[in-house]
């Protein structure tokens, strides 16, 4: 329900996020060292890296002015490592460049080309992916002789194909988005759409992938040189240093440590930078997303009215929520609310998006996302639920309190048959097994009005319609005859004709089992069908509660009345045509009352 905040990320924000991110800082530093080492090695090295000094073989680090010591020929290891950075960086950059130059056009062709052509490109990609970079690089090196360019070419091509696969999925995602549809409807040509919408939106992913290509290219270069197919002698490569020093590993183990460390740190740098880039450009992971304004109905600020505290005697309450406050990431999203439900009572919890109504429900079941701070008290049957360990809460969930969720399409496990899922609470709480639970599942399926229950329990969730899936959700929730059923917008995702049936079913079953109902919705018309009492929430507070009739006709809070007015204004009015029909009112509909509910922002 809470929409993702899209990345409007200007470059500066990304940079700032990168620096704040620990990964970004470390990765950036490592890459900066690698990048800095190259120009340094061109103008200065402590010693000539290729100079053989017969007088100083096998020196340990810090001896004779050799920072990292010397090898059997007396070559200065530090100078060698420094010079080796050229090969690594050059191959990393060249590979990334080639991969991008090859991968992007391939991806565009595979995603946007004519259907058959695109299918062909996809096939080609799938075959080419089976050729590992190292293998191709070895063969190319054998053909053209080892050099930076054969290595970078082979690595670039191999990872270009990988990149194409990832970029294609991204392009298809963006191409299927509404804003591309809107652009097309605005007359944007394919190329303009690619330039203005697709490329900017896949750029973050591409950047991340390219930094990963650089990491893998560095690794592959090392392996290639180690195997003897890298750049020939005068060039220095960390991989070949490793190869050259391996025979002396028992005598001078440190000599294999330095070049390996150099490779590892470079790769680590590229990887961390890539991870940090991904986090910095993913708005969902950004630590503190900039606050987007929420739509407000502007009403006069009145103090909460009618929040009559617990009108029931303590012992009669099934659920008593007192001073419940929920903070997520430092923001107070539910702010000290009180709710009470008597056994068998039906309470409608009304509110618009961001009012905190769903979080309240999740808090009752102990299902809040990790990191949410909850204070106050939630008592069920007089027993405090807040602060109970997960294991004990699980024992209450599904047996005493159950919940039906908003999205029937995603609420069921797609890899498990319907019957199994219906029987799950019975297996958990009633200890049913095998046949017994299977039979119970069929009974429950029949009870919630699913057609052909004996067959249906063997179906998979995706084979059911939305309404049927919501019936399954209800069956799961009511399997153990809970004392309290929480329904969070159970019909919002459904068609009206289905909605009516689901509401009727919920009401009937709850009534029959004596289950209390906490019905959460934004829709006043819906809630008026299944509630005895209404609580209105707004920005984390219950601003008003009372009997249904009173709220509908004589609400105290201005907000409630504004909400009602807006709902009436946009609702279908069956009586509008009573006199108009025949007279043929050409402009049907009641004048909406938004002038009184003020304009937005």
């Amino acid at each position: 329900m809470k929409a993702l905040r899209a990345p409007g990320a200007p470059t500066r924000t990304v940079l700032r996020a990168l620096v704040r991110d620990r990964n970004g800082l470390i990765g950036g530093t490592l890459v900066a060292i690698l990048v800095g080492a190259v120009p340094l090695s061109l103008v200065w090295t402590p010693y000539d890296p290729t100079a053989v000094d017969p007088n100083a073989p096998w020196l340990l680090p810090f001896r004779g002015g050799h920072l990292l010591g010397t090898d059997m020929l007396g070559r200065d290891q530090f100078s060698l490592i420094l010079v080796g950075s050229r090969e690594t960086l050059l191959i990393a950059l060249a590979s990334a460049g080639i991969a991008a130059a090859l991968g992007l056009p391939l991806a565009l062709a595979a995603a946007l080309g004519p259907r058959r052509f695109a299918a062909g490109v996809v096939q080609l990609i799938d075959v080419a992916i089976a050729f590992p970079a190292l293998l191709t690089a070895m063969i190319l090196a054998a053909v053209f002789g080892g050099s930076v360019w054969t290595a970078a070419g082979a690595i670039g091509v191999a990872f270009g194909v990988h990149l194409a696969r990832i970029a294609r999925a991204e392009i298809e995602r963006v191409h299927g988005s509404d804003y591309v549809l809107a652009a097309t409807a605005s007359g944007s040509s394919t190329w303009r759409t690619v330039r203005r919408h697709i490329l900017p939106n896949i750029a973050p992913t591409l950047l991340v992938q390219l930094s990963l290509v650089m990491a893998v290219a560095s690794l592959t270069e090392a392996a290639l040189s180690y195997l003897g197919y890298g750049s020939p002698a005068p060039a220095v490569s960390w991989g070949r240093i490793l190869h050259d020093q391996q025979p002396y590993i028992s005598a001078r183990p440190l000599l294999v440590v330095w070049p390996g460390l150099a490779v590892a740190l470079s790769v680590l740098g590229f990887n961390l930078l890539g991870d940090a880039l991904r986090d910095a450009t993913d708005p969902r992971l950004r630590r503190r997303a900039p606050e987007a304004p929420t739509d407000t109905v502007d009403v006069e600020r009145t103090d909460e009215v009618g929040t009559s505290r617990a009108s029931l005697p303590a012992h009669a309450a099934l659920l008593r929520v007192t001073d419940l406050t929920i903070r997520i990431a430092g923001r107070t999203v539910v702010d000290g609310i009180d709710l009470t439900l008597a056994p068998g009572e039906r309470l409608g919890l009304i509110g618009e998006s961001g009012s905190g109504k769903s979080l309240t429900a999740l808090a009752v079941l102990g299902l809040l996302p990790e990191g949410a701070e909850v204070t106050g008290s939630i008592r069920l049957d007089g027993v405090e639920l807040l602060g109970k360990p997960e294991r004990e809460l699980a024992r209450v969930r599904g047996s005493r309190v159950a919940m039906v969720f908003q999205e029937p399409l995603t609420a069921l496990d797609p890899t498990m048959r319907i019957g199994r899922q219906i029987a799950e609470p019975l297996r958990l709480h009633r200890g049913m097994t095998g046949r017994q639970s299977d039979r119970a599942a069929i009974d429950l399926a029949a009870r919630v009005g699913l057609p052909d229950p004996a067959e249906l329990v063997r179906a998979w969730p995706h084979q059911l319609s939305g309404g049927q899936r919501q019936r399954v959700g209800i069956a799961i929730a009511l399997a153990c005859r809970p004392a309290l059923l929480i329904a969070d917008e159970p019909t919002t995702a459904l068609d009206v004709t289905v909605q009516r049936d689901i509401l009727a079913l919920l009401d009937e079953l709850a009534h029959e089992q004596g289950t209390a109902l906490l019905f959460i919705t934004h829709d006043l018309a819906v809630v008026s069908r299944v509630s005895d009492r209404i609580a209105v929430m707004r920005t984390g507070r219950v601003i008003e509660q009372g009997p249904l009739e009173r709220i509908l006709h004589d609400a105290d809070a201005d907000y409630t009345r504004a909400l009602l007015a807006a709902a009436r204004a946009t609702a279908f009015d069956a009586t509008a045509f009573d006199d108009a029909f025949g007279a043929g009112d050409p402009t049907p509909g009641v004048h909406t009352s938004t002038e009184t509910v003020e304009a937005p922002l």
Partner: protein, 375 residues
């Protein structure tokens, strides 16, 4: 009195999708997303297309807008066929017909600034004139502060974003607006505002509207004609009072009876004073006056959109005696219209005549408050 021109006409629209094969040798199955849909949008009409999920509403929109190729059937705009093809070949059509999509969270490119989003159709359709000025104009027309043009979509609320989307659609000065569930992603209170804005704009600009929705309330409030779809097939169509007031098809009847309704509003002592007391009283009458042809208009003739009445609310259709001819109007050129006599030359100035929506009047706290908050 000439009959109003038919703007958009669809005949026998059919679209099928291939199903995956069930067996190696059997033919691949086909599924109809749309089957033989006819539709006619008369100038000045507001046509509601109603249906539940799987009714083929989205497919219909794609076909009507030339975004997808029909398996059978044709779409004509002013008797010229709309053939899906390269963007350039449809420029003439896109200048006339624009779209507002359902979810304003996804219909605006997160990496574009408001200015670029709204100017997009101007650029793509090579509309002449000062694009920046035009962007400011339409932003003001939808009740947004033109200053917001440099911001990114995520800085706006859902309702504001839908206003941006509407501004984009209005930018090239189209004659037809196609709205795909324009309010179903919004909160109830915002929904009413956006509906009002849509109604206000279509009336003021003389736009014709195709509104696709599953919500009969929305259709009832905006449309004078209705087409009911189910599983891709048209079931019933006609003037809204007829279809919604006296449905013939059992499905339409079922649909209507399933709508949850609030218990009827009984008058109660406390008047719902929702406006700020501080709001100048003078604002309201002016606003009401700016919206003729609403409830205050006495029911006149039977049937859809009495032409005489509606024609007064918009410039005369192209090709009639009052208009130079089929040629394209120059961008933002004055549209001559007989009513109201004082109607300003461009519609934007018409909007500034309304205090609540104007960009400069302090009486409207709408965007000014936002600007302050962001400042």
């Amino acid at each position: 009195m000439t009959a109003p021109a038919v703007l958009l006409r669809a005949e026998g629209l059919t679209r099928t999708y291939r199903l995956p094969r069930r067996s190696l040798w059997g033919p691949a199955g086909r599924r109809y997303a749309l089957r033989g849909v006819d539709l006619e949008l008369v100038e000045g009409d507001a046509l509601g297309v109603v249906g539940e999920s799987g009714a083929g509403k989205s497919t219909l929109i794609r076909l009507l807008l030339g975004l997808d190729r029909a398996d059978a059937g044709t779409v004509h705009y002013r008797d010229r066929e709309v053939r899906p093809g390269p963007a350039r070949s449809l420029t003439w059509f896109r200048r006339e017909v624009q779209i507002v999509l359902q979810d304003p969270m996804s219909s605006l490119d997160p990496r574009s600034r408001v200015r670029d989003i709204v100017a997009e159709p101007l650029e793509c359709l090579r509309v002449e004139g000062d694009h920046d000025a035009r962007v400011d104009e339409v932003l003001a027309a939808v009740g947004l502060d033109p200053q917001t043009r440099t911001r990114y979509p995520h800085e706006f609320s859902g309702g504001q974003r839908q206003r941006i989307a509407i501004a984009r659609a209005l930018a090239p000065d189209p004659r037809v607006l196609v709205a795909d569930e324009p309010v179903s992603a919004l909160d109830v209170s915002v929904r009413a505002q956006i509906l009002d804005l849509l109604r206000d704009l279509t009336t003021r600009l003389g736009l014709s509207l195709i509104l696709v929705s599953h919500d009969l309330g929305v259709v009832q409030h905006l449309c004078n004609n209705v087409l009911v779809l189910k599983s891709g097939e048209p079931l019933e169509s006609g003037p809204s009072p007829q279809v919604l007031g006296n449905p013939q098809h059992p499905y339409t009847q079922a649909l209507l009876s399933a709508i949850p309704t609030l218990p009827t509003h009984t008058p109660h002592p406390k008047p719902a004073t929702l406006t700020k007391p501080a709001a100048p009283d003078s604002a309201r009458p002016a606003f009401e006056a700016g919206k003729p042809g609403r409830r205050s208009t006495p029911p006149s003739t039977k049937g859809p959109a009495p032409p005489a009445q509606r024609a007064r609310l918009r410039p005369p259709p192209v090709g009639t005696s009052e208009d130079p001819g089929p040629g394209r109007r120059p961008e933002c050129a004055p549209r001559e219209g007989p009513w109201p006599p004082t109607k300003p030359k461009s519609f934007i100035s018409a909007s500034t005549a309304k205090p609540e929506r104007s960009a400069s009047t302090p009486a409207s706290p709408s965007w000014t408050r936002c600007a302050k908050r962001s400042a």
